[in-house]
């Protein structure tokens, strides 16, 4: 853990300016992909998570342009706004489950996104908003990539730490219990709809942090950045990594970011590659890369399995 943090702190001094930008985006995506895992823990795959990120970004744009708030205030406030919007959206969504939730969240997310397109005032209409200040803290201008990288690093580390604690806490185990068997969870006294709403709003909170950090970096928000295409990329990260452990999404994002950078020369053909990867993983490796570790461990490091475990007989 400390080694990773040390490496992350040293990274901007080893890399070129362009790479620091890439690292900043990677850190923001890291918060996003981990926050997406929280609602999926209860079995609710949402298609509006990127829109929640957008809510954070738009909140930041409005807060910093209208009231000229400090970046230390805009980031947490945007997260709270995103959590509130998430809570409002999830109230009707709770009535659906599984695939219905997926589709309904798609539609409601699109509703929010269309609001940004429709209302030129205050959201700027189809072209979005520009001129969001990149923020400064104690005389350090965050327009420079390296200071902003550290700012993002602090937020990413704190967010990941909190999300890790949630994963391990009683609440996190409750989420997983709902996923495993919602009826059983209900029968032992868990208020399933409330916990599902809580999971969704918590995910939206951290997505809001990611959106806010993104808006400060780009200096602009555009409704097109938060459409379903972006959502599919988020799904690719999480499908490639897997969702059953905390590390799965992080691993998936890391691998796919490398693939993304490496495939830069392919340009327009890139969505084809990513679509192909998505199909490949869903068809051949539905557990994601993290399930590979389990399989490898099983094959090479496990003690002799019980005699009945002939190859191919039991699929786990």
């Amino acid at each position: 853990m400390i080694a990773i943090l040390a490496l992350a702190s040293a990274a901007p001094f080893l890399a070129r300016a362009y790479s620091v930008e890439v690292l900043i985006l990677f850190m923001i995506n890291l918060i996003l992909v981990c926050s997406y895992r929280i609602p999926t823990m209860t079995g609710d795959w949402s298609l509006s998570h990127v829109v929640m990120m957008g809510v954070g970004a738009y909140a930041t744009a409005l807060l910093s342009k209208w009231w000229d708030l400090s970046i230390l205030l805009t980031v947490p406030l945007s997260a709270v706004v995103a959590a509130l919007v998430g809570f409002i959206l999830v109230t009707p969504l709770i009535r659906t489950r599984g695939f219905g939730f997926f589709i309904a969240s798609f539609a409601l997310g699109e509703f929010v996104r269309l609001c940004w397109v429709k209302f030129r005032d205050p959201f700027g209409g189809p072209r979005g908003m520009i001129g969001i200040p990149s923020g400064e803290l104690g005389g350090i201008d965050f327009f420079e990539p390296v200071p902003y990288y550290f700012f993002v690093l602090v937020f990413a580390f704190a967010s990941l730490l909190v999300m890790y604690r949630i994963d391990r806490s009683r609440i996190g185990r409750t989420f997983k219990a709902i996923y495993t068997d919602a009826e059983l969870a209900e029968s032992v006294g868990i208020d399933v709809p409330r916990y599902r709403a809580l999971a969704f709003a918590t995910g939206a909170f951290f997505a809001g942090i990611a959106g806010s950090l993104l808006a400060h970096r780009l200096g602009a928000v555009d409704p097109k950045n938060f459409d379903v295409t972006t959502m599919v990329y988020l799904i690719i990260w999480i499908v490639v990594g897997g969702t059953s452990t905390f590390w799965g999404p992080i691993f998936g994002l890391t691998v796919m970011s490398v693939v993304f950078e490496w495939s830069r020369p392919l340009l327009e053909w890139r969505p084809l590659l990513f679509g192909g990867i998505l199909i490949f993983f869903l068809v051949f490796l539905p557990g994601g890369l993290e399930s590979l570790f389990g399989k490898i461990r099983e094959r090479f490091f496990a003690r002799k399995p019980p005699a009945k475990g002939s190859p191919g007989s039991s699929a786990t």
Binding site: W45, A104, I235
Partner: protein
């Protein structure tokens, strides 16, 4: 003005119905949720573009070509994506999102991304109904929809294979015990589903901007209709399609297209809250 809007609503409803019926049908049989349905619509439009605008075939022939070509794409999707992911609805849905990416890139790289392809309207002029003017191309959509829906109805309720398809939608296990081959039925459902999306795209090609990304707008509308209608219910999909056609057209006329989409989504949210199983959906046993 009012008659004009009503006439436009009916035309819009017919297009929505052709598209949504295919989606509802695939979902009814073994829960195949096709995110690339909008891209199938796009493929149908491009078939017309290639055969009619580039090769100079007569328009009806080009439309008829779209049906088997996109139907074959449906079969391929069933075989390569839905069959391996059959135990998980979401996996199939997400994988077809990947398919949507692939189709967009393939079409975009073959025929260009930038400007929309123009498909000239084969039928000039407009029809006059009580003072409402509707282009012949749009008028054509209505009989096509009626023809297609009645053919589908005949197939599902009068032909043996269609009855087997319904049986499979109701209870796959029982259907299999009766000697119905599930794999053949899912293939059939996806063929019909693809063919209907292709037909809709082909009919709309002259009046809809033909771009690789034209499926985006379609897929949201189609899913709103299917959710409102009750996911698996074909009759529900038709009903919801015409309702949404009316709502969209009226709101578009009174305000603008973005508001119309928003109202459509709000309608869906309302249905989900008041009646989660959809307008004509069955209550899950």
């Amino acid at each position: 003005m009012l008659i004009q809007t009503i006439a436009n609503s009916v035309v819009a409803g017919s297009v929505y119905a052709i598209i949504a019926v295919g989606l509802a049908m695939a979902f009814g049989v073994m829960k195949m949720a096709n995110f690339a349905h909008g891209e199938f619509f796009m493929a149908g439009a491009y078939v017309v573009y290639v055969f009619y605008a580039l090769l100079g075939w007569p328009f009806p022939a080009a439309v008829l070509m779209a049906v088997p070509i996109v139907g074959a794409m449906g079969i391929a999707t069933e075989r390569l994506i839905f069959r391996p992911t059959r135990d998980n609805v979401m996996a199939g849905f997400m994988a077809t999102a990947g398919l949507a990416f692939i189709l967009q890139v393939l079409v975009g790289q073959t025929w260009g991304v930038g400007l929309m392809r123009s498909v000239p309207t084969p039928y000039m002029g407009a029809m006059d109904i009580f003072g409402a003017k509707i282009g012949w191309q749009r008028v054509l959509v209505l009989p096509s929809a009626v023809l297609m829906l009645s053919a589908l109805w005949f197939f599902l309720y009068r032909v043996k294979a269609g009855k087997a398809l319904r049986a499979c939608a109701q209870d796959p296990e029982m259907a299999r015990l009766q000697g119905i081959r599930i794999n053949r039925m899912t293939m059939l459902a996806m063929a019909i589903s693809g063919a209907s999306a292709g037909l809709a795209g082909a009919l709309m090609a002259p009046i809809h901007p033909v771009t690789p990304y034209m499926g985006h707008g379609v897929i949201l509308t189609a899913f709103i209709i299917v959710v409102m209608g009750g996911m698996e219910s074909i009759a529900g999909a038709v009903l919801a399609a015409f309702l949404l056609g009316i709502v969209h057209t009226f709101v578009t006329t009174l305000s603008d297209a973005v508001t119309a989409q928003m109202v459509g989504v709000a309608c869906m949210a309302l249905v989900l809250i008041v009646r989660p199983q959809g307008l004509l959906g069955r209550v899950k046993a």
